[in-house]
Symmetry: C2
Subunit: 318 residues, 2 copies
């Protein structure tokens, strides 16, 4: 089959369609003929050698896709069934082997291309804000990078849960997008100190920055507040004052989706379909695609996402 | 009334019985005539000026006591009822005002003196391991300072929950005590690196050390592991590698009991009576008193606890 591979291992931009071996099905997996694959920051990190696939996963880039079942293996699924898939890797290819627990139906009213790019963001946001932090009506949540792919999705999902939503972003244009999606409190991090603006008010913070924001995030948390770190764009190591945690009973947690066990991923997928798919079906959460490119243009897609100027998702079509 | 006060504010050992104003009851509080008060590390910290009472709480030392209701105020309680009390302060006096939500019955078979010293440790251990971390059968828990007041109690409670219990302590004698109480894995921290011994195995860690142990604690945690910090005997500030949290979905939490709201304390008290009192009644958790001293000897009691050589609780009798 054909798949995107890195032709020069020292050049993360050297992504090209090449001939590779077909995926081999293991028990409990189905073979999916890929229709489209979403592009994620993790894919760019992997091309840079900073986000290696977990043991046993495909070396091919791509954390989500949609397509049709080409071979149900031993699962009892139907050949030809349309599915969206959460992947540990392999989305940027013609075919991909997918554990049955990571198959999802298409959200009602969604095309294959739309579905391909909603899986990773929906599972990431729901597993952290819904399943882990248990965000509920009346609480205040802070979402960093409100204008990005995760941010725009999280704003809407949190509003659907009845939370007050604060966001940070780096431009007034992005903040205006956040406001249109329902964000209640807007902070331009280039002009304001979010910790000062939100001091002691946030029950949950969804953070993609890490080290650089840790101290400010702790200041922004309310009693019993939870900081959930899902990205480390601002570095990994920093000083922590544990004395700040105790009196207000704060917690700092970190998660990734990709490193979860098959069982844990199946849990996330089930819960996401149960809770988030209805929000997509009735439009409480709208999913915005910024651009659709042919799979062969993966390098261009990464460049576009890496520019930081994108609001919405980028999708590759096979 | 008479109460222990600090006669020289620069000398934490200058604790003496002096004449002070009687406590004034607020709505929802009862006046308790103190029979006995437990001695806790927080009391020593307060005498050193490092653990000030929360706003509105008594300035008198003492986080737990037992006694009889001398004035039920507007609560509808019975005068003369024997109670154990969780306090924000005030235990080291003849009388103390107690919010009704912080009154507990004596555990079945317990004397007033025994009951006085079991409240703080029971609420601390249960609120952290039971309510917050949700420790359950089959999980592995690490308890630092296994030979101390919190440690000896926590070992038994965790065994009663069906967990595998690992402990650290600084002497083989203390470790032997831990073993007798049910601990399964014994680590002498002066001779062994607990992170090496327990690498990746602990679902929950109950920590009283803080900064000095942070890095090792994170290494010792299993996937989805929770580090719960309730003391900072090893300092407050240190470097954290947030990159260690994400792939294994670790969480770092800190808590105190004293700073909780009245509502939150009432929750803890209710849940502790429901879950822990039966363990005390049937002997699954045994509570050991090391020494009983008269209230006037508070300074000596603090010295004894501070020596670090005590296994079991110290109680002051009024």
């Amino acid at each position: 089959m054909k798949a995107i591979t890195q032709t020069d291992e020292n050049d993360p931009r050297s992504l090209a369609l090449t001939e590779v071996d077909d995926p081999q099905l293991k028990s409990g997996e189905v073979l999916v003929k890929v229709h489209a694959a979403g592009v994620n920051r993790g894919d760019i990190l992997q091309a840079h050698g900073n986000y290696p696939p977990p043991p046993g996963a495909s070396e091919i880039i791509g954390l989500e896709c949609s397509g049709t079942i080409a071979d149900p293996g031993d699962t009892g699924r139907e050949e030809g069934e349309e599915v969206a898939c959460l992947l540990a890797g392999g989305g940027y290819g013609e075919y991909v082997a997918v554990p049955e627990g990571q198959l999802m139906p298409l959200p009602e009213g969604y095309s294959l291309t739309e579905a391909a790019s909603v899986v990773e963001v929906a599972c990431t946001v729901w597993s952290n804000l819904g399943m882990l932090a248990g965000l509920r009506e009346g609480q205040t949540v802070l979402i960093h990078g409100g204008g990005g792919g995760i941010g725009t999705f999280a704003i809407q999902l949190c509003k659907a849960l009845g939370a007050t939503v604060a966001v940070t972003a780096g431009s007034d244009e992005k903040l205006e997008t956040c406001r249109e999606l329902g964000a209640d409190i807007l902070v331009n991090y280039k002009e304001q100190d979010f910790a000062q603006e939100l001091k002691g008010r946030c029950d949950v913070i969804l953070d993609i920055i890490g080290a650089k924001y840790l101290k400010q995030n702790l200041r922004a948390l309310n009693t019993d507040g939870q900081l959930v770190i899902i990205g480390l764009q601002g570095g990994v190591k920093t000083e922590i004052n544990l004395g700040a945690l105790l009196p207000r009973r704060l917690s700092v947690r970190g998660t990734t989706l990709r490193a979860r066990s098959l069982e844990s991923k199946a849990d996330v997928v089930r819960s996401t379909v149960e809770h988030v798919w209805p929000m997509l079906a009735d439009g409480r959460v709208r999913h915005h695609i910024h651009a659709t490119l042919p799979l062969a243009d993966a390098a261009r897609a990464h460049e576009l996402l890496d520019s930081g100027e994108v609001t919405g998702k980028i999708v590759l079509e096979a």
